[in-house]
Subunit: 410 residues, 2 copies
C-alpha cells in the first residue's frame, strides 16, 4: 500500500474550521487507498503567544523549559486533528515527538533528529489508522522534550517519510508550488512541475521561503521525494526530487533574489597569509553570518576584501570591520546596505556554456551595474543596487525563457 | 532535610505575575532549609479554553485525544514556573506527568495513579533543585497521556508526597484554611487549626469544596499530613491529619451544607425483598448518583422510599421514578428540588451521647421542620426546606460553640 506523509503548517490548521478542512483532505487521500501519516504545526499565532509568556517570565528563557512550553502548541493541534478525523468516522491516533519517539540530540530549541522509532506507527497503519504526529519536537535520550527550531515541522515530516520509507512527503502550505520567481515581482512567473533538490536548495537559501532549507537537505540526503502544494486550492504543486537522466531539463529553472542583504568592503589591506581569517574572525565571533565573499589583489601588494551579511547585522558588522581596519593598518572600511542579490539557478547550466555571459549581457543591456559576482555549479549570483531589483528579475526571467501567461494571478 | 510538596491551583498561577509570586513563596521556603517539590495546575481559564476547542472539533471528544490536549495546560505552567524560579536565581527543573513518570491506569479523563517513579526527582533534590511537576496528568504503561479528572492536581500532590515520604503536603489555594462553616453564610465562622481526615472527608463530600475528596482519601490512606493554606495571604492554614490520642477535641468541628440537592419519594410500594434495587437500579443505570436513602415501612405492608440526588439530575430522576412507580404498582411518585442538606461533623461525637438530640432540639427551637435524617459515625445530616438553610447553619454553629469574632472578614 502506498504510504504518504502529509505536513500542514500553522496557517492550514489556524482554526477548528481549517482543521476540519485538513481532515477532509486526508480522508480524500485515504479514499484513494493511501496510508497517511500527518505532521502538523501549532495553530498560527500560538507559538508567538507562548514565546511572549516565556519572555515575560524570564529575560532569556531557559532553553529546556522553553521547549517544554513551546511543544504544547503542536500537542494541541494533533489532539484536535485526531478528533476531527474521528468525528468524520476516520480512525486516527495522535503522538507527540516524545511518544513516537523522535529522538534528538540535547541542543534545546535547535535540536537535530538522531533516530525515529517506527514500530508503533507501523502497527497503527496496519490497523488502518491515520497517524497524527506533532511537528517541530522531539525527545532526548534522557526523556527531555526538545524542539527543532524555526520551520522544524517540515524537517519532522521529511524525517518521518525517510524513516517510514514513504512514497512521497507532501508539504501543504499557503502557496501552490515553487515558482520560477516571486510572482509579486514578475507577474509572468510560472509554477514549476518539478525541480531538483540542488536547485531547490539554491532557491530556498536565496530567499524563496517556501520550504525550510534543512528539510530540503534532509530530503535530498535520504532521497525522499518532496511535493509542495496548497492546502486551500487543488493542484499537483511542485515535486522536488533528483534529476532524472532522460529528463529534458530547461537550462535555468528560476530566478531567486534576496532583498535582505548588505555589503561591506575593506580596502588596502596589507596582503599577508591569514588576512581573510583576521577580517572574518571577529565577524563570526559576533555571531554574524557571512554570505558572499570576494577578494581582489591590487597592485601595491595590498588586497581589497568585500563580503555580504544580513541587513539587520549591518551596523554591528561595520563597527567591527572599522576596528579591524585600524588593527590591520588597512586603508578604509566602508559599506552599503541598499543592495540586493539576484541569482539564476538551474542544473541545466552545468552542461551549457555561456550562461554567465548571457546573464551579464542582459543586465548590461538594461544599464544595470553589477557590484559583486559569485558562482556555484548550478547558480550565478550578482549583487546590485536595490533600485534595480525588479528590472533585473523581469529581464532575466524573460531572457531565460521562463515567462508564462501570468494566469495564476487571476 | 525536611521535604515539602507544595500545590498551587489555577488561580494562584493565573498570570505571569502570580507565577512570580509563587516563585517567591517557594524561594522563601527553601531559605528555611526545606526541599521542595511543586505541583501546579493549568493557568485559570486555560482548561476551559482547551475543552471548548475540543468540543468545537468533536461532539463527544475522544477521551485519549482530549487528554493529549488538556495536559498541555499544566505543561505550560511548569515551564513558566521553572523559568520564574531560575530568573530569581533558584535552580529548578520541570517534569510532565509522563516524564516523572506518574503511571496511571488507562481510564482516560479520570485515570487512577498506579505508581510513581521517584528516582529522577530524588537526584534533582540532591542537587539542590526545586522540582516542578505538572498536576492532573499521568501516563499509561503504553506511554499514552492520561488526566486524573477534575481537581486532579490535589491528587497528584498527595500522591507525590506519599511516594517521596514528604513531611507535609501544602495545598495553596484562594482560601486560607478550612472553616467551621461557610463564612458567607455565618460571618462568625472560624478557621480550624486542625481537622482529622475523616472529618475533612465528611466536610468535603458535603459541599465544603476546599479540597478534592479523592486527594483527602489518598492522604488518609498513606498518612500524608495535608495543609490547606492561602497563596495570597500568610497564615498557617488548616492541618488535616489523623486524630491524636492526647488531643483535646471539640465535639463538633464544623457545619457543612449542600444546596445542590433534590429529594424524590415513592409512596405505597408493595414491600417485597429486592424492592430497593428495583427502585434504585434504573436511577443508577441512568448514571444518576444517589446520596441519602431513607425507607419506612407503613402499616398496610407497603413501604415508602425517599432518596436525594444532585439537583441537576432531578427532572430525569423523577421521570424514571414515575415509570418505576407504574411498574411496581406503587401509589405515587413525587419530589422536591427546593431542599438542602445540613450536616454537623466531628470525631468528638463518637464519645458524646446526645449530639443528635441537641441538633434536632436546636432546629425545633427555630421552628425548622426536618424532612429527612441520615447519620454516620462522625456526622449527622438533615434535609430541610431550602429557605431554612442560613437560619439552620447559624443556629447550629452557635449551639455547638463554633462561633468566633468574625474578624477574618475585615
Amino acid at each position: 500500500m502506498a504510504l504518504f506523509v502529509h505536513k500542514y503548517g500553522g496557517t492550514s490548521v489556524g482554526s477548528v474550521e481549517r482543521i476540519k478542512h485538513v481532515a477532509d483532505n486526508i480522508i480524500a487521500a485515504r479514499a484513494r487507498g493511501e496510508d497517511i501519516v500527518v505532521v502538523v504545526s501549532a495553530m498560527s499565532g500560538e507559538t508567538n503567544r507562548l514565546v511572549a509568556l516565556a519572555k515575560e517570565t524570564q529575560e532569556s528563557p531557559d532553553p529546556r523549559e522553553l521547549d517544554v512550553i513551546l511543544s504544547t502548541g503542536e500537542q494541541v493541534t494533533i489532539g484536535l486533528l485526531a478528533m476531527a478525523l474521528k468525528q468524520k468516522g476516520c480512525p486516527a491516533v495522535s503522538y507527540t515527538g516524545l511518544q513516537v519517539p523522535i529522538v534528538t540530540d540535547e541542543a534545546h530549541t535547535k535540536a537535530r533528529i538522531m533516530d525515529i522509532g517506527t514500530e508503533r506507527m507501523r502497527q497503527d497503519l496496519d490497523q488502518g489508522k491515520v497517524v497524527v504526529v506533532a511537528g517541530f519536537q522531539g525527545v532526548t535520550a534522557s526523556n527531555d522534550i526538545t524542539t527543532l527550531g524555526r520551520g522544524g515541522s517540515d524537517t519532522t515530516a521529511v524525517a518521518l517519510a525517510a524513516a517510514l520509507k514513504a512514497d512521497e512527503c507532501l508539504i501543504y502550505t499557503d502557496v501552490d508550488g515553487v515558482y520560477t520567481t516571486d510572482p509579486r515581482v514578475e507577474p509572468k512567473a510560472q509554477r514549476l512541475d518539478r525541480i531538483t533538490f540542488e536547485e531547490m536548495l539554491e532557491m530556498a537559501s536565496l530567499g524563496s521561503k517556501v520550504l525550510q532549507i534543512r528539510s530540503v537537505e534532509f530530503a535530498g540526503k535520504y532521497n525522499v521525494p518532496l511535493r509542495v502544494l496548497s492546502s486551500f486550492k487543488g493542484g499537483g504543486g511542485t515535486l522536488i526530487s533528483y534529476e532524472e537522466e532522460n529528463m529534458e531539463k530547461p537550462v535555468i529553472s528560476g530566478i531567486a533574489f534576496n532583498r535582505d542583504e548588505a555589503k561591506l568592503t575593506i580596502l588596502g589591506v596589507p596582503d599577508r597569509p591569514g588576512v581573510a581569517s583576521k577580517i572574518l574572525g571577529p565577524i563570526a565571533g559576533a555571531n554574524i553570518e557571512v554570505d558572499m565573499i570576494v577578494q581582489n589583489v591590487s597592485q601595491d601588494s595590498t588586497t581589497d576584501f568585500t563580503f555580504t551579511v544580513n541587513r539587520s547585522d549591518y551596523p554591528k558588522a561595520l563597527a567591527i570591520l572599522t576596528e579591524t581596519c585600524r588593527e590591520l593598518g588597512a586603508r578604509e572600511a566602508s559599506g552599503d546596505d541598499a543592495i540586493v542579490k539576484v541569482s539564476i539557478v538551474g542544473v541545466g547550466m552545468r552542461s551549457h556554456a555561456g550562461i554567465a555571459a548571457q546573464m551579464f549581457e542582459t543586465l548590461a543591456r538594461e544599464g544595470i551595474n553589477i557590484l559583486m559576482i559569485s558562482t556555484s555549479e548550478i547558480k550565478i549570483s550578482v549583487v546590485l543596487k536595490e533600485k534595480y531589483l525588479e528590472l533585473a528579475v523581469r529581464s532575466l526571467h524573460e531572457a531565460f525563457g521562463l515567462a508564462g501567461s501570468g494566469d495564476h494571478l487571476g
